[in-house]
Symmetry: C2
Subunit: 347 residues, 2 copies
DNA sequence: TCTACAGATGTTAGCGATAACAGCGCCTGT
DNA sequence: ACAGGCGCTGTTATCGCTAACATCTGTAGA
């Protein structure tokens, strides 16, 4: 029955990852001490701490997050619910948030949803709760999404992004109105008598906020407020709006609700022989990467998605800590990016 | 010492979620039987099964994934490593994969990476392993990403998407060459003597594959192969390439490596007074949502991202099951979408 | 009638971490 | 010299689940 000892000689006896007890044995301490070192507990002798760290490094030990999640009831995971689209704004927001969360040591689990209605969002939230996520972020740019969020928020840190500014639950948004105000103001400052607005879909808060800011800038300046030209977010709808506006000689300045709309408008103007910015000035919104390469390069409003992501994370983590932080709303002011699509009116 | 019974009367005594034992107690069975019902184990009497299901429904019980992950060593999570960009192809791929995984009951954890180098990718992969993900998907469209993946794949199911078709590890890609071949062939069929190509960045496999397919179509047809016009993926670089090509009267057909390049080329042609498709025919690649609204609507190649996502998931799950499936490479053929940017050459 | 076996269920033992408490030195104050 | 406290470490229980084995029932075959 004498065992040749092959079990004792082999260092990595099986493929099993090292656990905390393995580290403890190697360092000559208890697993609890290892845990304390890992969690930065103060009452550990420096020498012990070093020994444990050395053992961790030697074994290539990495803590099992599932075990930790089980005992603490929370994982280092944040769930995000987002619509299944590639629209620039939401997609950028999502990417920025993933980056910010990773920097803070959180993993991000994304639950895509095809339509932003109550059932879909509620399902996605429940799936995340099953994972024992630390918190949930919902990107809810439309009215229906906003209503749905109101119905599900319960018992877990939750932050809405890009939702209704009037919400009473934690929310972070780009200050659409401020951006629109700045855009409109910029056109008025250039000497235009009024500014036309091609807007996004009316069930998006982004659209409403931008309309509000635009109108407010005109009213503040005592200028006439022309009717809103409705569109969706697409270049094609911008093109159609542009075809109409190009036929109206009194139109000298346009604020487009996003850069894609602006692109369509540029195209329509160009086809009608109305030069930008000589005959017509245009400002967009979003600062998509291509905006600097439009013809002419587009003056636009740049939302700081990185800042939005950071605020969102902060708001979420504050809830994890205190359980309740009231219902703070935070807005992030966008910046005007001046390029070559704005000039004083001629004549 | 008589207790008024407030503990017994209150159904939801605390905020604690119901656990398997709670369900078991209510159904009058052991927690193991509940587990068997949940996992579809065959040896459970139908009547018992119903009783358990009723108890589950009554309590609103949802299994704790962390506990399951701890005991099985694997979570129902799939990690995705992707670059922090909003380029249409990778972004669409990611969204499609998230949807496909959700349909299969998996959550998706996204690890964004700013540059696709070895360290970043390796870090992201390790972070996912800490979460005990069931498998990892790396979107690796560039050479550096591909090398990095080669260095880290170890001991966990891993599928590369959009990587080097010559890889020896599991991989799913769009068949770039086939798409490019079809695009080029389509232009030749329209009667053009040859087809020029504006390509993407040379460190992307997508670019290389599209060049290969284009060249192959020309050679197969016995046509002259003009020099590749290099660009990146942006509309602006397409515009610059287009300015050059517009000056060359012998250029009657262009295959652009993606739709944004095509957009820039369209713009340049329009400015130079070369009409599309009357004077010059153009085919793009990607079928971005706006492509149907370009002027003129763009004939392009549509990759089936949904199919790529599905194949990727299959390949991943196959590895989870068997541990090893060899090194299958799967490609998904894209489709030609005919619109109005192609016509026979004039004269 | 009794054994054998299979199906249905229960019991026990972990998975790998944290939480709570216990114990052991050593310094301090009196 | 001794109680008390603090700093460091170890021991034990626990989270909610699955795996493995044990037990119990009923039925078929000898």
């Amino acid at each position: 029955m004498f065992d040749q000892g092959d079990g004792a000689v082999v260092e990595h006896k099986t493929s099993r990852d090292p656990a905390m007890t393995d580290v403890a044995r190697l360092a000559g301490v208890s697993h609890q001490t290892v845990s304390r070192v890992l969690n930065g507990h103060p009452n550990v002798r420096e020498q012990t701490r070093l020994r444990v760290r050395a053992a961790i490094a030697e074994l290539g030990y990495r803590p099992n997050k599932a075990a930790r999640a089980l005992v603490t009831g929370r994982s280092q995971l944040i769930g995000v619910v987002a619509q299944n689209s590639t629209l620039y704004g939401p997609a950028s927001l999502l990417a920025a948030f993933e980056t910010a969360a990773a920097e803070a040591g959180f993993a991000v689990s994304v639950g895509r949803v095809n339509v932003l209605d109550r059932n879909s969002i509620s399902d996605a939230v429940e799936r995340h709760r099953d994972q024992r996520v630390a918190g949930i972020v919902v990107i809810a740019p439309t009215a229906s999404a906003n209503d749905a969020v109101g119905a599900v928020s319960a018992g877990i840190p939750l932050v809405t992004v890009d939702g209704d500014p009037e919400r009473s639950t934690p929310l972070v948004t780009v200050d659409q109105a401020a951006g629109a105000f700045a855009a409109t103001r910029h056109l008025l400052d250039a000497g235009h008598r009024t500014v036309w607005h091609v807007s996004g879909p009316s069930d998006w808060f982004d659209s409403l906020g931008r309309i509000r800011g635009w109108r407010s800038a005109l009213e503040t300046a005592g200028m006439e407020v022309p009717p809103v030209v409705p569109a969706d977010w697409s270049a094609s709808s911008g093109y159609r709006a542009g075809q109409m506006l190009a036929r109206m000689p009194e139109v000298t300045a346009i604020f487009a609700a996003n850069d894609h709309l602006a692109l369509g408008i540029l195209r329509a103007m160009s086809e009608r022989g109305r030069r930008v910015p000589h005959d017509v000035s245009i400002v967009g919104f979003d600062d998509v990467p291509e905006a600097a390469y439009f013809i002419p390069p587009l003056t636009t409003i740049r939302p700081d998605f990185h800042a939005v992501a950071k605020e969102t994370l902060e708001l979420l983590l504050a809830q994890v800590g205190d359980g309740d932080v009231g219902a703070p709303q935070r807005t992030v002011a966008p910046a005007l990016v001046q390029r070559d699509s704005v000039a004083p009116p001629t004549e």
